[in-house]
């Protein structure tokens, strides 16, 4: 009887552990101030994209390794009509950052194509002529770590000393690229003086 009660107690504790871990990977996006999920991503095949992110050739990397102070992460999908509609605005945002010498080396953009195979990612990238790296997340691993957010979803991430911290989190299209960039700069400033243009 004692043995049975020990087994049941252990089962209950294990069950609670499982449920608590599951709760961490669903429902909500990483809140502002939290650590960005430390998910490994395949290093881009494109030399241009490796250079953009300051990565060397290799198997995988973590976002905290990106050579930037601020990272804008867009969670998107080829199958999402709002992401399709938003693509030109995000390209404009990228161009505004790249055209600003004070921002170019400090602020980078990546896309996470949730649930998209490489071909689906490629079709989205080619259709909208997207210049920044977009990573295929075919098995939803990244998407689950990000709380299964709806798309498009934008996260501002501060990178300091090998750590990645969320400072902005928003669902849906932004009003216009200039306003969104100002918002990102303002919020990154309030979190870190290092990112100011």
């Amino acid at each position: 009887m004692k043995r049975l009660s020990e087994i049941l107690a252990t089962a209950f504790l294990c069950g609670m552990l499982v449920l608590s871990v599951s709760a961490d990977v669903s429902e909500a996006a990483p809140p502002v101030g939290s650590e960005f999920p430390d998910v490994e991503i395949a290093v881009p095949d494109s030399k241009e994209h490796r250079n953009y992110l300051g990565l060397k050739r290799g198997e995988s990397f973590r976002l905290s390794q990106v050579a930037a102070d601020t990272l804008i992460v867009e969670v998107l999908s080829m199958y999402c009509p709002f992401c399709q509609a938003e693509a030109p605005a995000v390209n404009t945002l990228y161009a505004m950052i790249e055209d600003d010498p004070a921002l170019r080396e400090k602020v980078k953009i990546i896309g996470i194509a949730a649930g998209n195979t490489k071909l689906e990612r490629d079709m989205f990238v080619d259709t909208f002529d997207i210049p920044f790296p977009v990573f295929a997340d075919a098995d939803f691993l990244f998407h689950k770590a990000l709380g299964e957010v709806r798309t498009p979803y934008f996260l501002g991430v501060r990178i300091t000393g090998g750590a990645a911290t969320v400072f902005h989190s928003s669902l849906g299209a932004f009003e216009d690229p200039a306003s969104f960039l100002s918002l990102i700069i303002e919020r990154s400033r309030s979190n870190s003086a290092e990112v100011s243009p």
Binding site: R3, P81, A138, K144, E148
Partner: protein, 209 residues
Amino acid sequence: MNVSKSLIFVCAFFLLALWMPTGEVFGFSEAFEGKVFEQKDQKPRDSVLKVAVGDRAPDFELPNLSGTRTSLIEFRGKNVVISFVPAAWTPVCSDQWPGYNILENLFADFNAILLGIAVDNIPSLYAWTREMGGLWFPVLSDFWPHGETAERFGVLRSDGTAERAIFIIDGEGIIRYIDVHDINRRPPLETIVDQLKRMTSPDDAGRND
């Protein structure tokens, strides 16, 4: 079984439960937030095919969203990709056709047309595809007689919805590829493109492999 072995067994059970893949999240586009009917996973497949690769595809003529009718035979000479989806305003379906909406050039490169077929009526399909921002390919209603075309292909489920199925038919009207997909999952684009590549390859011998 002693206590330590029992504990290992119980913990292993829960760890396995944690490892087991959960259902992927489809229909998560902001475009459909609060608008699609959330469903639990359904029986992956609930019908028996009535056609096979190599068969002549059953012809059909169905009403489309333009107010006219579309038949399969009018696309002779072109490759035809038929996408059956289970029902309008459901999660996976709502983010399947919007993806195809940016692939018009891709289909054209393979001398292919895409036909979307659902068992919903025209007003429902009209409202649903408007929410997607409109679609470049014909969307056909297999509403009445209910699911007759789906039934002729063998993809009508017992609850009156259709399977999530892809049929690729060549310019002669012969079925070259069938994928009756798990209704809870979206078919990867690769399978469609690979088949169209084979069918437009100079080495194509008219067989499915």
